[in-house]
Symmetry: none
Subunit: 190 residues, 4 copies
DNA sequence: TATGAATGAGTATTCATTCAT
DNA sequence: GATGAATGAATACTCATTCAT
């Protein structure tokens, strides 16, 4: 009967946190996040029990946003190469479109405040990507390795690519394309 | 302020900082570092003007240690592939041998407290690596890209490889070897 | 604001407050009291304007409960000694039966948040006790003192007795009896 | 070689705490205590790890001061009655001389923040008091009870006496004397 | 130079109370 | 009236840095 909790407010806090953390690191005060989100200091804690909880939920939210973009329009029936390209482009495009989210995700990934649980959930295989990786690597030099390793290479190489695009936005397309070729060669050639 | 007396103390602080930051993140108190280094709280500040200075010098020290290992015994006259393998192995071996240093370097790399200057110095081309990269990429899919991009791929892929070795130390050699093949295919194949 | 609807709810809050304050002290949050009483946080404030009001009303309620038990079946026509014993037993029995109430009353008695008014009302003479004290002390060493002083001794000695009974419940009766003899000697002997 | 910790400062904090807690209860802010003690907010925590530690140490300090006064000039060879009178007077005089300390001690005695350990140490028998109580009660109505119970009666009755002296300081002596007679009768008469 | 006590700005979190539903 | 989300002042404690010894 009382005022219901607002999903909007929760999202506003998450977005504000992304901005603030991107600017000042995860040691930025919760008060600043609250102000930027347009809520009172105390309100932040009705949506997130503690700063650590906020950090973990933000991490999962960012990971989830990235996945969504990788899966959006995923061509399940195309060749492994085309599916790989789709996933690659999704990753790179997400990173380019969300520089703050990417920065924060990078910080959270190496933070001691993200629990093992969050990391596990955040890195779990998803959609058809796992399967695509398996197909792609089947005859390549990595054929003996775990798909997760190939997935890690995808992330690592995409990150490197994004950071170069950020420095030279005008060459975004060449970087994205060349990065993909490098990735594809890395995992599929023998 | 003149050069501080004891180079030993300076190193002790740097080592202590590595351990403490690896355990608790870079927000760990300087007092704890001082204690672990066996010096008084105030003494830390005669060796490093401020915590930020310590952070930056630690970053450069770590980067420098990594380079040393990549260059140690570098086969300047061998084939590009062999030189690449040497650099790759140097990176991976350093990471495996210095898990704390690697963890801290990862944190510092994404920290707002590391200055642009430090990042530039820390990522500058060195030894014969730049040249090796140029040769290796000459005919590959990355031929149009900057060598720095290829260097970034080396780091990124080596990091991914190290983190998998950390999870499965017994398969260190397969990971290191397969990782290198993937890297080599990524940059040299067309 | 008119009289709140439910006397039951008011009592539930008072009881919950007793439990919670006994466990955590009077600095326990009102939210916890509300939860234990089975009402919403805000509802508590329709029954008690503020936490201070709650504290004061609880104090008076507890005092009142104690009095009731001291007066229940009070033998107005018996000897002073018997009347004194009745009052004494009433006090001790109440304390033993209501350990939480006793604990909270002790805290409130020394709290700055209980007003002078409440203290006055809570310590006012009542029933035939005042008169009994007067008779009992008439020939004793305290004959020159105020009855209130004797009343204070009764409370003090009964409290001490109760706390020993709490530690050794099996010797409740000896403690209660010996305590009364000590009290009676204290006030009646010359 | 650095500035040594100052016993004076520690005492200043303890005294300030006594004043502030007497005025506002133990929920008074540590910042106010620090200010009143003339030290920085943080300094309080170099002398007392936490507010709870301060509370416990203050409790023990107050108890210890009370004991000192009870034992000062204690007539070990006098009659039990004279020794009892000395202890009684010591208690009452301490209470009258330290109204703030007494008030705070009363609050701490019923506080959940005082550990069992502190309570045990603070109530341990001391000097020749225990022995005196034993002698005095040997033939009285309490002969079967523990000396600790008699000690508790002494405290309880002395407290009641002090509080009446506080209301009527001019009748301090009569109250003190009559209170003692009452106490003596309570424990020694059969 | 080395030490560690002193400083006080900074911060996560709590909580009585208000008020939209 | 009942609910519980919203508020923001209040507060214990931390910590980089300074400075007396």
């Amino acid at each position: 009967m009382a005022r219901p909790r607002s999903e909007d407010k929760r999202n506003a806090i998450l977005e504000a946190a992304t901005k603030v953390f991107a600017e000042q690191g995860t040691s930025a005060p919760t008060a600043r996040i609250a102000r930027m989100a347009g809520v009172a200091e105390g309100t932040l804690f009705t949506y997130f029990e503690s700063k650590d909880v906020l950090l973990n939920e933000l991490y999962l939210t960012l990971k989830s946003g990235l996945r969504e973009q990788m899966l959006e329009g995923y061509p399940h029936r195309a060749s492994a190469r085309e599916r790989a390209r789709h996933a690659w482009n999704g990753y790179v495009d997400w990173g380019v479109a969300h520089p703050e989210g990417r920065k924060v995700m990078a910080q959270l990934t190496v933070s001691e405040r993200i629990t093992e649980d969050s990391k596990t959930v955040g890195s779990a295989p998803f959609g058809g990507v796992q399967e695509m990786l398996r197909e792609a690597m089947a005859k390549g030099v990595l054929r003996e390795m775990a798909p997760a390793f190939v997935g890690a290479l995808l992330s690592a190489m995409a990150e490197a690519t994004i950071s170069f695009i950020e420095r030279e936005p005008k060459r975004a397309e060449p970087y994205r394309a060349a990065g993909f070729e490098a990735f594809w060669n890395a995992i599929s050639k023998s």
